[in-house]
Amino acid sequence: MAKKPRKKAPKPTPKETAAKAKKPKHPDMEIPFLKNVLVLIALFFLTYYLVGNVKGYKWLQERFIEGNLNKLEKFADLTTDQKYQAYFRFNHQFLTFIRDNTADTAIIYMPPDSVLDVEDKKSAFYTKKRSNSVQHKTWSTYHIYPRKLVYDREKEEIPSFDQYTHVACVDGWGYEYLEYDVPKQQRARYQVLPRTVKGLKAMNEREKNQAQ
């Protein structure tokens, strides 16, 4: 079969070529040069005005952007625990101590609120927000999870209260709940100890192994 001669497309007129060349590839994005520059200048001054005069944007610039970037540089070498302690101080430090000295399955008996005093400025646990303190059960459990906590104030409410395996001893409180005696000179101000003699032996064994 003979091939059909291909029809040549008519040459575009100079007017058509010029129109094609001028047609923007992205009509959505392109704006005329003068408008482009003028709108940029207007936006720049508007932003400058807003950042200088609207308190929210001023805060964004000074506290959120500059403040945070400075903090990130300053605290770059901190570990996760140190970052927490930068916020929650001794409240977190004490919980980290409990976490590091108990097994994952431990249930820790926590002192009453009068001992974990968060309101007294002289107390190591002092904080303005009670919710972010050792007094708050869920908040505290988060930092030691999967270990669990039972509080002295819950004695009557929780059916399995007596299942605790450790006691958090604070300022002399708690030694009376251990099944063995701790000589007074060996009683630290902040301590977490196993409830039973068996637990104490296991703890001593573990410490010995770690030291070796």
Binding site: L43, K137, P146
Partner: protein, 464 residues
């Protein structure tokens, strides 16, 4: 390895978007992918928990891979793969030349980019410290990742350690749990992905109505809402919820406005996910539902109204039943269980709300731009986009009514009205601000302004 898990999560969401419709724009697909995949993963956690299937990376990975394989195979069979990845959008972007540079757009995007950089840097540097997350979402997420179930040791009636914040629906805590399962040290990767998705989604949805410069302007205005950006680096539930609520309300509106059915399905899914993140998201079901009711009456589209109500209502109810039936947590005492009128409370509340919403420290210029925008379009308010305005105002009203109904200072709910308005209510406003900015952003006056800025020639000169 964590990067591969994220890619799988993204591809799963991308696949789901194509399953709804391959016709969505590339930016829409990118913006919706992570939140949609998060929705699937967290929805699966509930039946797994009820059926005793351990929640692990593998058990959640398999359905994602199945989605990717199924959608990939289906698109290949239908020869729609190029459309699914929107090759035309990539080609358009590639042919972008130096002369096409839009300086205002670059300026606005630079502001957004820099802000997002600070958000990501801050979020990934600090561990979870926000109380609501420590005592709630992040803790539940951690427990799901370690124990492989939702009904874990936290809810053990013998030794419980849950708080009022542990009872939130699974979208946020489950998403945090999945972050831990993927191997991240911090669950904040979830918040970061969702704030990035919010920017892309918002921008992409605006492009349905306005050009790039205006879309960039209104996205910047919304994202720079001071309190919103401040909270976005924390692992609170409000930032993810903002994505879901804004996406739901806006996509349902786009369906009503453009009669494009794919947006209806997207809207229904995200309206369900909105209550899968926060139960108070029900106010958006109420607002959009009422607007939809009006639309259904006008257009005789009752089927869609029923689907909307059934799907989003089911998501709300399923969690409530699980919460009280399985976990044994009830909201008793949080709300007054009958309607009442307390003029003093109403006055105090409106005063507190006024102080919060007009404070530029919290919402920047939102409460200046939005009222001006609405007033400027007052002449066409009943003609254009009024379904969206109805949805927003009714949602806002319902949201405010929810706070009025709270039993502040009651036996089971110790928080005062002032503290609730100054914290919780304030954060819940993010989604309302987002949709209000959207409404103003697509209004006729903004389109005129867009014409003035972007299009060549004098916009006030009549077109020949």
């Amino acid at each position: 390895m964590t990067l591969i898990h994220l890619i799988v999560l993204f591809l799963c969401g991308f696949g789901l978007m194509n399953l709804i419709s391959p016709k969505f724009g590339l930016l829409e697909k990118i913006g919706f992918s992570f939140p949609l995949a998060h929705g699937l993963v967290t929805l699966l956690m509930l039946p797994y928990d009820l059926l005793g299937i351990p929640i692990t990376l593998t058990s959640l990975y398999i359905p994602q891979l199945l989605v990717i394989a199924f959608v990939g195979g289906w698109l290949f069979y239908k020869q729609q793969l190029p459309q699914a990845v929107r090759i035309q959008d990539w080609n358009k972007a590639k042919s972008f030349g130096f002369l096409s540079i839009n300086l205002p757009w670059i300026f606005l995007m630079s502001i957004l980019g820099y802000l997002l950089y600070v958000v990501i840097a801050k979020a990934m540097f600090w561990p979870t410290i926000s109380f609501d997350s420590v005592a709630g979402y992040d803790f539940v997420g951690k427990m799901i990742a370690i124990e492989g179930k939702v009904n874990g040791s936290m809810f053990d009636p013998d030794l419980p350690f849950y708080s009022i914040r542990s009872g939130y629906p699974l979208y946020v805590p489950g998403g945090f749990g999945y972050a831990y399962l993927m191997g991240f040290d911090s669950s904040k990767i979830t918040t970061v992905l969702l704030i990035l998705s919010t920017v892309v989604m918002y921008y992409a949805l605006l492009l349905n109505y306005v050009k790039h410069t205006m879309a960039a302007l209104f996205t910047t205005l919304f994202i720079t809402t001071t309190e919103y950006i401040a909270m976005s680096a924390l692992s609170l539930s409000n930032v993810p919820h903002t994505f879901l609520a804004v996406a739901a309300v806006v996509t349902i509106f786009i369906w009503m406005d453009k009669r494009d059915h794919r947006y209806f399905w997207l809207g229904v899914i995200f309206m369900a996910l909105n209550v899968w993140a926060r139960s108070d998201g029900i106010v958006f079901i109420a607002g959009t539902g009422l607007s939809l009711l009006l639309f259904a009456y006008q257009e005789k589209k009752w089927k869609e109204l029923i689907i909307f109500g059934a799907v989003s209502g089911a998501a709300f109810m399923i969690w409530q039943v699980y919460l009280s039936g399985t976990l044994g947590i009830t909201n008793d005492g949080v709300f007054v269980d009958h309607l009442f009128w307390d003029g003093e409370k109403f006055d105090r509340m409106t005063d507190l709300i006024w102080r919060v919403i007009t404070n530029t420290q919290f919402y920047g210029v939102a409460m200046i731009v939005i009222p001006i925008g609405i007033l400027a379009n007052f002449r066409t308010i009943h003609k254009q986009h009024y379904h969206l305005l109805i949805a927003i105002l009714v949602s806002w009203l319902a949201y405010t009514a929810l706070y009025y109904q709270m039993d502040n200072g009651g036996e089971n709910f110790g928080y005062s009205l002032k503290s609730m308005i100054n914290s919780s209510y304030k954060r819940g406003m993010f989604a309302i601000i987002g949709v209000l900015y959207f409404y103003v952003g697509i209004s006729p006056m903004t389109q005129k302004l867009s014409q003035l800025i972007i299009e060549p020639g004098n916009p006030f000169k009549p077109k020949q």
